[in-house]
């Protein structure tokens, strides 16, 4: 896999391999969400609303990935009111992506967002057929004159969570429930560990791979095993709240992921690592409206642009640590701090980034190792 952001593709592969039937159930439910009714017919000269559509891999009720994208769509509606008309199609299997995107294009949508890696080639193909329509693809790497890709920087969050975790751990052992060994997830494991080491050099991180994006029972069992192996602060790169709830049950700590999960585990919840697609969606729609939209771009936003953030820090975190975490957030926002700044040494002792050097985008796209302090070896799947 030569892309950094293939999470949704893996999700698909595993769904098919494991649970053919459950995965195949998902028909796609299409829902029109009319923008708030236009005020009286007093302004007949008013331009037609801009039609924009979103294609989702999961249900909007997944409380995770798709939910976050749908919040972004709602932010667009809130911002532009009756100047936009948004539509979404949820639970679209990758095999149906091309058909759904083409449908949306021929129905007069001017901007189409496909929010999962596996729609990449489908969207590229349809983009070639509709040169006047603007296409936006999340987490991919292929662009066209009328197709952009966009992504987030979750490792900004993971690093700051690491700072909190490093200060809160009593056993100097952190746990990470990981999904698939792809660069995106490895970046988060590494950033979490580096953040923790910045305040507590003795920290070690144990990782359990569950090979799924979503399976609450499995995620919970993985969390339990980590706790049994003395991990007392956990982070996960999976989509459910099970890790937090397992930590709560055991009197340990954990973080929310994707969205604000503080309500799920009031005592265990240290902070939530969130992603907000609203800013990017608003920018794209605005540019489509005023004609400044440009294709062929790759946009990766993080904390500085308001796409990623760490929120709802628990009162139980010592004041000084909260301050440190906030300073790190501010420094990342201000561009003075990049979690991946050399020296970065992998856990076999090899230097991966020389001292003082900031990692390039290409470097970040290709992370395939654990940093020093993470135990074990990255599963190769071979």
């Amino acid at each position: 896999m030569n892309s950094s952001n293939s999470r949704k593709m893996n999700r698909r592969l595993f769904a098919v391999a494991g649970l053919a039937a459950t995965a195949l159930v998902v028909g796609c439910g299409k829902k029109e969400e009319p923008a708030p009714a236009a005020k009286a017919a007093s302004a007949p000269a008013k331009p037609e609303p801009l039609k924009a559509a979103w294609v989702y891999i999961g249900p909007v009720g997944d409380a995770g990935w798709t939910f976050a994208h749908d919040q972004g769509r709602k932010a667009v509606e809130a911002e532009f009111g009756d100047k936009v008309k948004t539509t979404f199609v949820e639970k679209v299997p990758y095999s149906d992506g091309e058909r759904v995107i083409r449908d949306l294009a021929s129905q007069g949508n001017k901007v189409i967002f496909a929010t999962s890696f596996g729609y990449m080639d489908a969207m590229l193909k349809v983009a070639g057929e509709f040169p006047d329509i603007k296409f936006e693809h999340a987490t991919g790497y292929k662009t066209a004159p009328n197709m952009n890709v966009y992504d987030s920087r979750f490792y900004h969050d993971a690093y700051v969570s690491g700072i909190i975790a490093g200060a809160m751990t009593k056993t100097n052992t952190l746990g990470f429930v990981a999904s698939f060994p792809i660069p995106e997830v490895l970046r988060n494991i590494n950033a979490f560990t580096l953040g923790a080491q910045s305040v507590n050099p003795k920290v070690r991180t144990r990782v359990v791979w569950v090979n799924t994006w979503f399976d609450p029972e499995k995620e919970g069992a993985a969390a339990q095993e980590l706790i049994n192996k003395r991990a007392d602060v956990l982070l996960q790169n999976t989509d459910s709240t099970a890790v937090l709830q397992t930590a709560e049950k055991n009197g340990k700590y954990a973080f929310g992921w994707d969205s604000d999960m503080s309500a799920f585990a009031p005592k265990a919840h240290l902070a939530s690592n969130i992603v907000d697609w609203g800013p990017y969606y608003k920018k794209s729609i605005k540019e489509a409206m005023d004609g400044s939209w440009k294709g062929g771009q790759r946009t990766i936003w993080g904390k500085p642009e308001g796409t990623n953030d760490v929120i709802k820090m628990n009162e139980v975190i010592p004041e000084a640590t909260r301050k440190k975490a906030q300073e790190a957030l501010d420094a990342i926002k201000g561009g003075t701090l990049d979690p991946f700044t050399g020296p970065i040494v992998d856990n076999a002792g090899k230097e991966r980034l020389p001292k003082g050097e900031k990692a390039s985008q290409d470097w970040k796209d290709k992370v395939d190792f654990y940093v020093k302090g993470v135990e074990g070896k990255v599963p190769t799947g071979k």
Partner: protein, 306 residues
């Protein structure tokens, strides 16, 4: 030592979902009805149980509701395949798909709601024993219920007249019919029991191991439970042990990973399925062995008087 005890503990806890569902499916398969709708029944029951426990605050009510929901769906399936003689495979698959959609539809307002984490119940005295205490006597009550049900079902099947009748119907419904037994009603009852137990399994996930509701919560465990009945050659005790084995393999591979041991997690994930295929291959090799174990009329419709 203590860590091994904790490993046993999680293996039992995670195997219980499969055990409950497999025991239920075993009952209806023993009566000759194959219900591939396990996953659908578990999902609908999971959301029903969760909603009930969430609104009333009572886990007991949650489990009861889940069992009823599972039984209701099973009854629907039973009426179709037993009285209307629809194809059991197709109807079961349809039930699975239907249940997935129905649970998602019913559960929309429940997404993102949460129950507090469930405490384990420690059996007095026994829980304080070294090793066995933390391993076997500190669990959610449903873990013990699953063990109790295994004993009850084994006793019923092999030590009671009704159990003998049920098995006889699973082997060949004609003689029972000739003797005047209501074959189709008995099959329907078995199917409902199967549904109720699948319902308990679903609620065990949504109330205890997760505890939350999201679409597709059971993540394919109904299918594993179906495989497990074959793996267990339709014997309750073997089903229970098989469930713990399946649960144990999952937990073990995580335990090894957490300890930094390098084994391909993909390989370990495959293990339960490989074991099932092996067992299938082994029991299919010997025709007599199949005759001895598999309910002979499994999956075949029964038309009285035909």
């Amino acid at each position: 030592m203590n860590e091994t005890a904790l490993l046993f503990n999680t293996a039992l806890a995670s195997g219980t979902t499969l055990a409950l569902a497999a025991l239920g499916l075993l009952v209806n398969e023993r009566a000759g009805v194959l219900n591939l709708g396990a996953e659908g029944m578990m999902l609908v029951a999971a959301v029903a149980g969760f909603a009930m426990a969430f609104t009333t605050g009572s886990d007991v009510l949650g489990f009861v509701t889940a069992a009823l929901a599972g039984a209701a769906l099973a009854a629907l399936f039973g009426i179709l395949v037993i009285f209307l003689n629809t194809n059991q495979y197709a109807t079961g698959l349809a039930l699975s798909l239907f249940g997935y959609g129905l649970s998602a539809f019913l559960g929309v307002s429940m997404v993102g709601r949460t129950l507090s984490a469930r405490e384990n119940y420690e059996i007095p005295v026994l829980a304080d024993l070294p090793f066995v205490g933390p391993a076997f006597f500190s669990h959610h009550p449903m873990v013990y219920v699953a063990i109790g049900l295994t004993i009850a079902i084994a006793w019923f099947l092999y030590r009671t007249r009704a159990g003998l009748l049920l098995r006889a119907i699973g082997e060949n419904p004609e003689p029972a019919h000739a003797l005047g037994y209501p074959v189709r009603l008995i099959r329907l009852a078995a199917v409902c029991v199967g549904g109720a137990l699948c319902g308990l399994a679903g609620a065990y996930v949504s109330l205890v191991t997760a505890p939350l509701w999201v679409e597709g919560l059971t993540a394919g465990r109904g299918w594993i439970a179906l495989a497990l009945t074959v793996f267990a050659t339709w014997r309750p005790a073997r089903a229970l042990l098989g469930a713990y084995l399946f649960g144990g393999v999952t937990v073990l591979q995580m335990n090894l990973q957490a300890g930094g041991v390098q084994i391909s997690s993909h390989l370990l994930t495959m293990l339960p399925y490989i074991a099932t295929i092996l067992v299938l291959a082994l029991i299919s090799r010997n025709v007599a062995f199949i005759r001895l174990n598999m309910p002979a009329s499994l999956g075949k419709p029964f038309r009285p008087g035909s």
